[in-house]
Amino acid sequence: MYDTEKLGTDVNQNDTKISARNVQVYYGDTHAIKDVNVDIGSKAVTAFIGPSGCGKSTFLRCINRMNDTIDVCRVEGDIKIDGEDIYDKRVDPVQLRAKVGMVFQKPNPFPKSIYDNIAYGPRIHGLAKNKAELDEIVEKSLRRGAIWNEVKDRLHAPGTGLSGGQQQRLCIARAVATEPEVLLMDEPCSALDPIATAQVEELIDELRDQFSVVIVTHSMQQAARVSQKTAFFHLGNLVEYGDTSQIFTNPKDERTESYITGRIG
């Protein structure tokens, strides 16, 4: 038994949003994440970098318990958001995911209208009392997603008809529509061209004002551009975690240095 209230106050003093302690993840017999400890700050962008298969996406998906949907996946250790253990028995993952939004690698709008894509989350969580409020939420979310001007005249056109970059911004708008506190992004730009990537990066920078953003990326330049903190994962271990500028200019660990200079990965 732990006293979550007390722990919570401790953590909040350090302005930490998410704190992970001794997190282990197993896929069947495979030990995918080994003993990860990390504190992710609130209202900042944290980047997870590392070679393919190093566990950064797996760890990201632990934060909103998307791994629950995988039968063979087992998570050990503590992950706390605002001091509350999200793997506690009392936590309903559905409620958690409303608080921790997620944007996926491949843009995955629902095959419905742009309006319905955004309105879906607020509808199922009962965030709008009437149509006018819902309209307002949709507009606000699309503005936050920096896509309002492009779609305001065709809100009832299918979301799947947009270009890849627009689709991804639509997905970001959809994720922020439920007013989450944390936004997880799993390689959000890997399917986008450089121009769309630049737009999404700009957007991430703006989102920092309201959300704690955690982004997994393969591009070290992107991590350097958008994040304040960077975590380097290698073979399931969190090798190094610190200020982005420090990680890229003065890494402490040899493996980090090898990776950012292109010798491994």
Partner: protein, 451 residues
């Protein structure tokens, strides 16, 4: 001008020219050509079989839609039909069909005489062989419906007997008449004589499509309509049971059930059930629904239940396949915005899988519609003389047949006139199956979403 060509360009290639095909390539190309020929041959064989089949069905079956009719004015004699003369409906009903036969035969004889046909058959009784035995019932019904007709001369159109019909369709030959007790050469002479005036005429017979089955001796009267209604009620039972049960089972197995030994076992068994011979389901239905649950024999309800058991695996397999085909990214997206598992399934996955589910269901229904074997065992095959049911309960519970069972029954009967009707029934059954499959294709085209 810039010379951008490679230093070696234009020189003779070292190993063979590209303009000459080497032996190995030749061999490969020949093998490919042979394979294409095999493919074309296989498809051509298939098409030839299909054409032969369609040709056989159409040449044998189209005749069933045309029937020979005899149109004659019948004098409805008051002395015979209403002796008391007070038009009391109860008295009129007392006169059985036997009372009507002489009137009809007289009317036909008069038509023969009017046409000036020389024939040794001068008695009205001799005309019996020309007219269907259903004629008397037809006149009687007309009189009961409208007693005011008594005493008048009314034009009736009777079905000709199946021998007359067969003669005009080329099924009954004069050389074989010696062995036929039902008709003589003189009758056929009369038929020949009545043809020009249009008294005897072949025309379209809607009663074949909408009518009820008839006894062995009245082939001309038999229709597939009532068994079509039997099939319809069975399909309703299948649709209302198999679709919800099948879809619910598939959704649970595909989206919610843990993957363990039990679900694996269930999965294997569903696949096996799809391959179980349908007669096994028939005997299961006999044992469970009729002998144990005491549901009525020959009832479309029981037939529908048996066919539901048979169709379920088909629906489950196709529904699971279409659920699997929905990209996982859609599920992730729904869960990611905080939808529950059930919301993600019902709001997003199911609508996307719906066209596939519908298609699978229609194909399953079509399969059930054409199924005969299980019906043998629950008593839906045989001469089931029923009229169209009056309501839904009667339709489900009263004895009836089904289209394929009716076709089987006709093909089994001795009178060659039924052979033609069996083929005609097949045409109607095929029309149903083709339209159901077309509907399935159209639905899939209409609602399919692409990513």
């Amino acid at each position: 001008m810039t010379d951008a060509s490679l230093p070696n360009a234009g020189a003779t290639p070292k190993s063979g020219s590209l303009h000459e095909i080497d032996a190995r390539t030749k061999k490969r190309n020949a093998a490919e050509k042979r394979f294409r020929v095999y493919g074309v041959a296989a498809i051509a064989t298939g098409i030839i079989f299909l054409i032969v089949l369609l040709f056989a069905i159409l040449t044998n079956g189209l005749g069933a839609f045309h029937q020979t009719f005899i149109s004659v004015p019948v004098y409805l004699d008051e002395a015979k039909l209403d002796k008391k003369g007070n038009r009391n409906i109860d008295d009129i009903k007392k006169v059985s069909t036997f009372g009507y036969n002489p009137l009809i035969q007289k009317a036909v004889l008069k038509a023969v005489e009017d046409a000036g046909i020389e024939t040794p058959l001068t008695k009205s009784k001799n005309m019996k062989a020309l007219v269907s035995a259903s004629a008397a019932a037809q006149v009687r019904q007309a009189v009961i419906d409208n007693p005011a007709l008594i005493g008048q001369t009314v034009e009736f159109r009777f079905l000709a007997s199946s021998r007359v019909d067969g003669y005009l369709k080329g099924r009954v030959h004069r050389e074989h008449l010696a062995r036929d007790k039902n008709i003589d050469a003189e009758h056929l002479d009369i038929v020949d004589g009545l043809l020009p005036s249009g008294v005897v005429k072949k025309s379209f017979n809607p009663a074949f499509i909408f009518g009820a089955d008839a006894s062995e001796s009245r082939a001309e009267q038999a229709g597939i309509g009532v068994s079509m209604i039997g099939s319809l009620f069975m399909m309703l039972v299948v649709l209302f049971l198999a679709l919800p049960i099948g879809v619910a089972a598939s959704i649970y197995l595909e989206e919610f059930a843990p993957k363990n030994r039990w679900t694996d076992l269930i999965e294997v068994n569903i696949s096996n059930l799809a391959a179980v011979p349908s007669i096994v389901f028939g005997i299961l239905g006999l044992a469970v629904f009729i002998q144990f649950m005491h549901l009525p024999q020959s009832a479309p309800l029981v037939g529908g239940l048996v066919l539901t058991l048979m169709t379920l695996p088909t629906i489950i397999i196709s529904t699971r396949a279409s659920l699997k085909a929905v990209p996982p990214s859609i599920r992730d997206a729904a869960l990611g915005v905080g939808a529950s598992k059930m919301q993600s399934v019902f709001h997003h996955v199911l609508p996307l899988a719906a066209p596939g589910i519908l298609t699978g269901t229609i194909i399953g229904l079509a399969q059930a519609l054409g199924e005969t074997a299980p019906l043998l065992l629950i008593g839906m095959v045989g001469y089931i003389a029923s009229n169209p049911p009056g309501g839904v309960v009667e339709g489900l519970m009263s004895p009836n047949s089904a289209m394929p069972a009716q076709i089987y029954e006709w093909a089994k009967r001795a009178d060659p006139a039924y052979y033609e009707r069996a083929w005609g029934g097949i045409i109607i059954l095929l029309i149903f199956l083709i339209s159901m499959n077309t509907l399935a294709v159209l639905l899939r085209r209409r609602f399919e979403r692409r990513w």
